[in-house]
Symmetry: C2
Subunit: 433 residues, 2 copies
């Protein structure tokens, strides 16, 4: 089969952009990555807004396609289940209350806590080292002319210039500029929907002897009804902690006045008593970090003929509660590469086939992620939930191949998201009703 060599302009040097670049370069294409920000390897990190990633099968498989899975996993920690920290009002609650551990899957299955920075560095380093990939930082996309196939860019010095392009891959995230240009072209369906909660990142540092202050092989959850806190382990012995609170109303971000350290500490002592003393820098973290908001983005179509296609958050940003946003973005890369291989002389056909195949799965994931927020913050502590999970585990063990819990299909297989949801509904009818 004759394969055409093309020049891909990828906008965005994040997870999807760098992996996509590597895959296309491996297939013999020329790739340039255009990124508005400075090179993160030299510019230092911007902290306080990055929820840790839970890398699972889809992401790992995609990294393995370019041989990077081990390099990434070397700096990760397996989380084998949820560790539930009971609420103070709970009968089991208060200091010294019993923690509940709920395995995510079968023996040996885990999701992997990794920082976005580490994952991005490994990908960026590999892309940079590949002769087929050119990296251009501090170049902001200003405008695309699809009819003339030109882009306008502005460099770090404020200079504007225009270039021709062959084809663009928009990997520029939830606030994608490539998508905005496609939206201006006409009948483009688009929605952005924010949840009413915000989030803020805190830290539990390692103990004085460098050890973890909690079990490092779990994702810790403090379910608190319509609010929650979670913590994911880091290889340096710390935990990245995230609170998800309503913006207004009872126990919301609104109820802690700017700089009121006493009220803040009291709130945590009341609600998160078992770790309040481990949150050593609570006041600095809380008052320095701004509140993040979480958005679901859906759009269609994902491509503009053979001129542009969207991947990752640019076409399907989801809320973080299923731990699948990054995994889905990485999975996109393998699927788009396969579509391009399958349509060697028809790039518009490849782009369209990729989107037509993937759109339902992206929509299914968006719904799963929204629903899992309710589950994590409210249901995981209930006896019914524990019973249900126990029954699922039993079925999975006694009827292997016949029953796979939805969480396992999403996290430990590459069954397309929409198929996983359909299969789970079928199992539900057969086994639980």
């Amino acid at each position: 089969m004759w394969a055409m060599t093309r020049t891909f302009s990828i906008v965005g040097a994040g997870l999807a952009g760098t992996l996509m670049a590597l895959m296309l370069a491996e297939d013999g294409h020329q790739v340039e990555i255009i990124e508005s920000r400075p090179d993160p390897r030299s510019a230092g990190r911007v902290g306080g807004r990055s929820i840790n990633l839970a890398l699972s099968e889809r992401g790992i498989h995609s990294l393995a396609e370019v041989g990077l899975d081990q390099a990434v996993l070397a700096q990760s920690l397996p989380m084998r289940g949820r560790m539930i920290h009971p609420a103070p009002s709970d009968s089991r609650g208060g200091d010294g209350a019993e923690l509940t551990f709920q395995p995510y899957g079968q023996e040996g299955q885990a999701i992997n806590s990794v920082t976005r920075d580490h994952l991005n560095d490994v990908l960026l380093q590999a892309a940079d080292a590949h002769p087929g990939v050119t990296l251009t930082f501090e170049h902001r996309l200003i405008d695309i002319s699809f009819p003339r196939r030109t882009v306008k860019l502005r460099d770090g010095g404020g200079n504007l210039f225009e270039r021709r392009f062959d084809t663009i891959i928009g990997a520029d995230g939830a606030y994608s500029h490539v998508r905005l240009e496609m939206q201006r072209r006409g009948a483009f369906n688009y929605s952005q929907s924010f949840i009413e909660h915000g989030y803020k990142e805190l830290t539990i540092p390692p103990a004085a002897d460098g050890s973890f202050r909690m079990d490092p092989n779990a994702l810790h959850i403090w379910p608190r009804g319509d609010r929650m806190m979670i913590a994911l382990p880091n290889v340096d012995g710390s935990f990245t902690v995230t609170i998800f609170w309503p913006m207004t109303g009872d126990r919301s971000f609104d109820t802690i006045a700017e700089g009121d350290a006493a009220a803040l500490r009291a709130r945590f002592r009341e609600q998160y008593s078992d770790v309040v003393d481990d949150l050593v820098d609570l006041e600095a973290d809380y008052f320095d970090h701004r509140i993040g908001r979480m958005v679901t983005i859906r759009c269609w179509p994902w491509n503009e003929a053979d001129k542009a296609v969207l991947i990752g958050d640019a076409s399907h940003a989801v809320v973080p509660f299923y731990g699948q946003g990054a995994n889905a973005a990485l999975e996109d890369c393998g699927l788009l590469r396969a579509a391009i291989r399958d349509h060697p002389d028809d790039l518009a056909g490849a782009y369209h086939a990729f989107g037509a195949d993937r759109k339902n799965d992206a929509d299914a994931l968006a719904d799963l992620a929204l629903a899992n927020f309710i589950e994590m913050r409210d249901h995981v502590a209930s006896p019914e939930f524990l019973e249900r999970k126990a029954r699922e585990r039993e079925l999975a063990e006694t009827r292997p191949g016949e029953f796979t819990p939805l969480y396992s299909m999403v996290s430990f297989t590459r069954i397309p998201y929409a198929d996983a949801v359909a299969k789970a509904a079928e199992q539900e009818r057969e086994l639980f009703s």
Copy 2:
């Protein structure tokens, strides 16, 4: 009650903008209208894209609030029902086939065909004549700074200038720039969703003696499964005809090659045989007018504190199939005026109350409008539909005050849209099940 006099900057001199200006000026406020286009009264009209409006109770009532209902209705034609033109494949079809007339409501009830231009002219004239209203044409909104309360405008000569504002009302339509500026401020929910059909406007001119070529007191429909054509009468003896066709596929816009007059005429002879010879300028109309697309827009919140609020299509554009888009926009004006009167010293509260009260109704209307496309193009010709309508009419006559068909609640009352939908569902349970 002490009422504060404010200065409102209304962006957009369309139906909602001009009526809102009149209402606020009547209440003693200062109002300026800023419009990007030239004054339509001197600039001539842009034809070919304006579906006629079907003015009904909500719109008429709103116009009556400023005493303009009679001036508008003087140049309108009452349409007392649907006139269904059967399909050629229909057993009753072909030339000389029987038309079916379906009344919209009770004796004396009608929706009123009026051109957007006439309605806009009456409103613009009245706004211009009011000492409290300033009209500024050819000034395009470029940017809003909400923190500094300034707008940047560009005039027709390309000059940029900046002004302070007191408060802004965004009445700038489905592609609202005011909304875009609000969207940039943060957690703003927004969706735009296009239907897969396009539309094109044609004309049936008056007969040689100046008379109407069809019944002028009906809305004519040629239901054709997943396509349709409609015609609304104009006071000059002509009809404005609109085809709603799929963009691609069977009998779509795609299937008529650019300039292929023979294929076009043949298609109309086959599908719309009873009027094909009345479409005198079919070829010129069809090939000169571009295909319009139809969008549903939903967003939230509708206001930015006391600094800006959206009305009409800017906050809730709907597809045209229930004939309610303009009626809803005009109704918004009365509701927003009432909210401002109810909160004389709290404009943020007024804006919020208006939106909180109206959002559900706007969503209900959006759904009704989408559903009515299916009804108009597909169901109106079926025996089941005719039977159902006959039964509804019978119930409405025999049980007045107890049963009102949904169409009548929407078109002939001011019952809030969401309440009308709820009441119709309740009637359905009680009377039809």
